[in-house]
Amino acid sequence: MTLDLALNMIYVVSAGLFIYGLKLLGSPATARRGNAISAVAMLIAIIVALLDQSVVDYRWIIGGVIIGTIIGGLAARLIAMTSMPEMVALFNGSGGTASLLVGWAALSTHNDTFSVVTIFLSILIGGVTCSGSLIAYLKLSEKMSGKPIIFSGQRIVNSILVLAILVCGVMLTIDPSNLNYLYAVIALSVLFGVMAVIPIGGADMPVVISLLNSYSGLAACAAGFAVNNNILIVAGSLVGASGMILTNIMCKAMNRSLVNVLFSGFGAVSTETTKVEGEIKPISVEDAFYILEAATNVVIVPGYGMAVAQAQHAVKELQLLLEKNDAEVNYGIHPVAGRMPGHMNVLLAEADVPYDQLIEMEEINPRMDSVDVAIVIGANDVVNPAAREVESSPIYGMPVINVDQARTVFVLKRSMASGFAGIENPLFYKDNTRMLFGDAKESISGLVREFG
């Protein structure tokens, strides 16, 4: 076996350790160990790289490593716990930039079409990651306004930018020796990264960082193709794929879609028309779980449907799981919920819900705006905001539980059917409402299972 072969086999081991480390990172009990294993894998990979025959001169390398270690180490140690996210953004940016540079450097030695295409990709993605991460850092650390930056014609500018990048890319592929195209691609990529991130609000930056993180993985992967290195491809694509999934999960936890996050800024300009009645937004059990999982203050509002579904035991189970997840859980009990006085009390007592978690309507309403998620379980009339808002409604004036003031509302019912009073419920159409259709017990058991 040649040395080269042996080294490459060690890469396989290193890749295996990355995978294992990433797996462990996904569970609280093992996360720290996972991180350590992944670090070991990295160390192994670096050592193998250093042993490579093509490496003849270690001075530059050592210089780079020392400088990098000092900066990275200091940054990691000195940074306050609260500013971790922006630090991650910066680290990510430097990773992206490194990929850009690797691609750039590779261009001098690799210039077959395939290599140039991958080099182009690694520069493009690396550049976007570089400047995008920087903007994200500035926004997060409030060195720059967190507000979306939007100007008219932004879309047109962006489109032109994309076109220009493509043209330069094609030209570069055709004539890899013309460095002007290369510089153009680099400049345009960096610019594009800036343009892509400025219209996004500061609160959405974590998602953006996660996305850019996924990009930096892809950049490494592209660089791997360019310099023909397996470990780069494996590790890069692992990061790319898992970062993408993670971004998606984070979006779900915020009850947004990725598209919505990325283009919300643009939306702010365009939708100035008056809001119509709104539309029904169904949600899946899985997505509902992600939101609940991230909530710290949950109010459960049961109604007749909980009784019909006999869901009280499942509700109790969900309550316990939420509490285990460090959320505060209360029940908002409307005096006429159900079909007899005290209907909810009977059922919740049966499920052994402590009395002091049952909050009367008058008490829960003022707290409603600090609630992350209000889960309406088979209640309808008693949470109908028409009683507050629509003077013509037959229930106008009846006090209701104002779940619509919570950040997010889940309504668990089987259909769009109306309740006892037989009237439409505008709650179902509100922006922050998600309908979880199905028998309440099934839905809640589903949520309980997701918590497993």
């Binding site: 009784a307 006999q310 209907h343 049966e350 004036g397 009846m398």
Partner: protein
Amino acid sequence: MQITIPKETHSGEDRVPIVPAVAKKLVHMGAKLMVESGMGLGCGYSDEDYSRVGAEITGDRQAALASADIVLRIRKPDITEVNQLKSGCIHISYLDPFNESELIAAFKQHGVTAISMEMIPRITRSQKMDALSSQASLAGYVAVLLAALRLPSIFPMMMTPAGTLKPAKVFIIGAGVAGLQAIATAKRLGAKVTAFDTRPVVAEQVHSLGAKFLEIDLGETGQTADGYAKELTPEQVQMQREAQKKFIADSDVVITTAQVFGRKPPVLVTKDMVEGMQHGSVIVDMAAETGGNVEGSVPNETVIVNGVNIIGQANLPNEVCRDASLMYSNNLFSLVEDNWDTEQKHFNLDLNDDVLTGCVITHKGEIVNTTIKNLKG
């Protein structure tokens, strides 16, 4: 405005129309509260409890009534007391307007505005004033306790070294407000509960409490807009009896709550059904006072027929008079508060209001309630 609260005179009535906590709210609203001395004693509330929250205590019942702008009470008044009221006074209490035509006539004659608590319409907004519901709910709870104590065996199942005790079988006829609460209470105590009602929507409500519903096909039945049951045809009553017979014979406890609003309740458990039951079984006839669902039940008495106990005790909410008073007080208060003019501090009688249209019987010397007017015609 002066609100007078006379002491209840009906013997065995421990409930009070206004508890001190609610009296306080009335005073706070700007009313002058005149409380007859000893009014709260049935529930253990002393005169001081009321004077402390700002009510005036009086020993002179007659004067207090004569000067009242509003009278709040539970039971319908004696006709003689109606005569003492001043014209324009608003009198709020149970009135039994379907049967008490003389009383209504007295109100009319004296220009008193009589509001009947039975007639609060069952619309969503008026649920907080609905005394029939609030009291029926407590009655359902009490009925089960009475039955449980009467029954020579226990409600829950118990597997013990001294043998397994089977759970009691409880059958509840009429699953309205009282019936549902009875179901819930019996279930809580561990009984096997089955219920029946003529209104088909009720089956789901019974299931929602974890009890069984006895399916009987009676053909067309239904309910009024207010959610009350329609009266059955004689054939339907017969069908119902037949179908229930075997089931009743197998039950340890039967609780009947079947009412038809404004009419005599149907007889659902006949003598032979009673005799078919096991020795020691218990029947609670919650409709005993108004005529009875059970053949042979006697109001306010427990009779034993063939070893079967038939409890006809009336005024069940009185057994939990403190809570019953609290709820009734709240019902009254909600009614007053909803019509209170906070500027002028007086009761604003707007006969176009949905709720008042339903429950005001006489006003300014006229019978204004259409149902009652038609009854008379």
